[in-house]
């Protein structure tokens, strides 16, 4: 499988379905990216920031108690939750932030759902001396107040988006509009493997450090690659970053876990229940009604609450290279509690979806087999939601 998309496409997925105004900017971005990505100075600066500032490499932890509880394959946790900012998002924001600087753009805009990408953008921009402005749906601001305030503390300007469903998709719409208006001064820092080409490639490449470390750490510890890699999928950046290294390695099963919400028709599972469509500049699986209007989504986790998915995931699904499953809100919440109780780790509700499915998978696998679950973020931001679901007020 081609790892760099031909004509901006992974198979039929991807592309550049954007207004003409943005086309030259995407071309400029692609040529800048291709120039800098293999530049030794750029790599060294990024690797240095990832190591000394963000906290890479992250540990690969053998979750002994969780493994015992599941009663099957060994479960390892890739601890992206231990990164600065509390999520994998910083791998990408540092990379793109450095790229923005190389391109001479001083103003950075970003969209955010749960707020993790907004926080990671605020962090990277503060550290790199860039001005950050973040679009966030007003519904998401309400359910992720803490993250909204964290961004402001780090100097980012927050724009509340009150259009449409007031969540991630509307924040992306608004960021695209801003970009078209301020194109010469502004870098649009997309937070997931979504959007028009070349964003899905850029974000994947900056996140692929996750999979590379998993490979090295598993080889060192177990002397072989894992049997399966499991990660949650909203837009799909932590999953793509975890999978990319293993796409050519047939023995490694790749499993993406989408938000099953409250069940059929009330979820954010674009790959499971969507159709091929065009949203935010890309052809991919989307949740839409019979007329092609994008549907509103539902999930306990704001970070997975998105009606599209990265085009490369659509491609991996179509090719049968990765499988995609759904986990419902209640099962993700149960996994959150389980991991907290047996391992002393509070996972982000997004990551809890992956944990839930890994436990289920492990049961039907042999003891000597191994599953790596990417713990994409930590759950401190979700404690209030979890308490509320448990009927508590804190």
């Amino acid at each position: 499988m081609k790892s760099y998309p031909v004509n901006g496409r992974f198979g039929e997925f991807g592309g550049q379905f954007v207004p003409e105004t943005l086309v030259p900017a995407l071309q400029e971005l692609e040529s800048a990216y291709l120039r800098w990505k293999s530049d030794a100075g750029f790599r060294a600066e990024l690797d240095g920031m990832l190591r000394e500032y963000a906290g890479r490499p992250t540990p690969l932890y053998f979750a002994r108690n969780l493994t015992k509880r599941a009663g099957g394959a060994m479960i390892f946790l890739k601890r992206e939750d231990l990164l600065h900012g509390g999520a994998h998002k910083i791998n990408n924001t540092l990379g793109q932030g450095l790229l923005a600087k190389r391109m001479g753009k001083q103003r950075v805009i970003a969209e955010t759902g749960a707020g993790q990408h907004g926080v990671a953008t605020a962090i990277a921009c503060a550290a790199l001396g860039l001005k950050a402005e973040v679009y966030m749906g007003s519904v998401d601001i309400e359910r992720q107040k803490l993250n909204a305030y964290r961004m402001e503390l780090m100097g980012a300007e927050l724009h509340s988006v009150t259009a449409g469903s007031r969540t991630l998709k509307d924040a992306i719409n608004e960021a695209l509009r801003d970009w078209a208006t301020n194109i010469s001064t502004t870098y649009y820092l997309i937070g997931s493997v979504v959007g028009p080409h070349p964003y899905p490639v850029i974000v994947r490449d900056f996140q692929s450090v996750i999979g590379k470390e998993i490979r090295d750490q598993m080889r060192r510890r177990e002397g072989r690659l894992p049997d399966a890699v499991v990660a949650c999928v909203g837009g799909g950046s932590n999953a793509m970053g975890s999978f990319h290294e293993f796409v050519e390695k047939r023995g490694v099963k790749l499993v993406g876990v989408e938000a099953g919400g409250a069940g059929r028709g009330r979820n954010a599972a674009s790959l499971a229940e969507g159709r091929k469509g065009v949203l935010h500049g890309m052809l991919t699986y989307v949740l839409e009604d019979e007329d092609g209007q994008i549907r509103e989504t539902q999930s306990v986790s704001a970070g997975l609450d998105y009606p599209g998915v990265g085009p490369e995931h659509s491609y991996l699904k179509e090719r049968g290279r990765a499988t995609y499953v759904t986990v419902r809100d209640k099962d993700a919440l149960r996994a959150f509690h389980l991991l907290a109780e047996v391992e002393g780790i509070l996972p982000a509700l997004e990551s809890a979806h992956a944990v839930a499915h890994a436990v289920k998978m492990a049961r039907s696998m042999k003891k000597e087999q191994s599953i790596v679950v990417t713990l994409s973020g930590r759950g401190d931001k979700d404690v209030q939601i979890v308490a509320k679901e448990a009927g508590l007020e804190i």
């Binding site: 550049q16 030259p24 509009r177 949203l279 989307v286």
Partner: protein, 268 residues
């Protein structure tokens, strides 16, 4: 020659075409047909009829709000096509559909275009289908005889402007400013320079119509004098329709007068 090309060709020497944008089904489908009547009575040469989409990334607040009103009133793409057909039968005015690509793609591009054609649609304007993606579908629209009206922008290079001018049909839609649709107070000097630049590539080849931000008769005059063959007015029409619920009969009458003042300005 398509109906849209004919509308341009039929104008007197220095006269420009007035393209009026209306959001299909705004504020509701029945009222929308009265809105069409009013703009045609005011002198619109071409109707650009929007199909509301849930995620209109090229549109500013006015047209976003219009899409919300239309969708809340239960407007479907098929209902907008019926409006197009009725407008065509009643007024014989060319109609271009404006909507986002997913509305086409979800039904199959060819199927939807065939349906549009059977509803007398003359052209399509798809802001998120730029030249490179549109080229995959060009053959289909050509075969069906529906104009695929491409957009050019202030960021468009000379080489790309040349390609757009030779690939568009009906007219070339020049986006006059960076950003999204929406009425603006005044025209920028850069807009007039942009028109002159684009005109070099469209002259003798295809009509050039300018949109985004144009709201006053003075703008219309300046745009035509700068070399455009037509102007597209949208948000300021949609803003007037937005007042419909409060002030029914007045709104339609005012709209007709407003369009008449724009049309007068196209004649100098």
């Amino acid at each position: 020659m398509s109906e849209i090309s004919k509308a341009f060709a039929g104008l007197a020497g220095s006269e420009g075409a007035l393209v009026t944008y209306i959001m299909g089904g705004d504020p509701d489908p029945d009222t929308c047909s009265k809105v069409i009547d009013a703009v045609v009575a005011g002198g619109a040469d071409i109707i650009e009829l929007g199909i509301p989409f849930s995620d209109p990334i090229a549109d500013g607040k006015s047209i976003q709000a219009a899409a919300v009103r239309a969708l809340s009133a239960g407007t479907t793409p098929r209902r907008v096509l019926e409006l197009a057909k009725n407008a065509k039968e009643k007024h014989h005015v060319p109609v271009a559909l404006m909507t986002y690509f997913n509305i086409f793609y979800s039904q199959g591009f060819e199927n939807f275009l065939r349906l549009a054609k059977s509803h007398s649609v003359d052209g399509i304007i798809v802001p998120d289908l730029p030249l490179d993606e549109a080229s995959r579908y060009a053959r289909i629209s050509r075969r069906m005889g529906v104009d695929n009206i491409l957009l050019a922008a202030p960021t468009t290079s000379a080489g790309r402007m040349r390609m757009l001018a030779s690939n568009t049909s009906g007219f070339l839609y020049l986006v006059s400013v960076l950003g999204v649709t929406g009425a603006r107070q005044s025209l920028r000097r850069s807009t007039l320079a942009l028109i002159a630049f684009a005109h070099r590539y469209t002259q003798g080849r295809v009509p050039l119509a300018v949109g985004f931000g144009i709201s006053a008769p003075e703008h219309v005059r300046e745009v035509i004098e700068a070399g455009a063959d037509g102007v597209i007015v949208g948000s300021s029409i949609v803003d007037r329709v937005a007042d419909y619920r409060e002030n029914k009969s007045k709104v339609l009458q005012n709209l007709e007068e407003y369009v008449r003042s724009l049309k007068a300005a196209t004649r100098g």
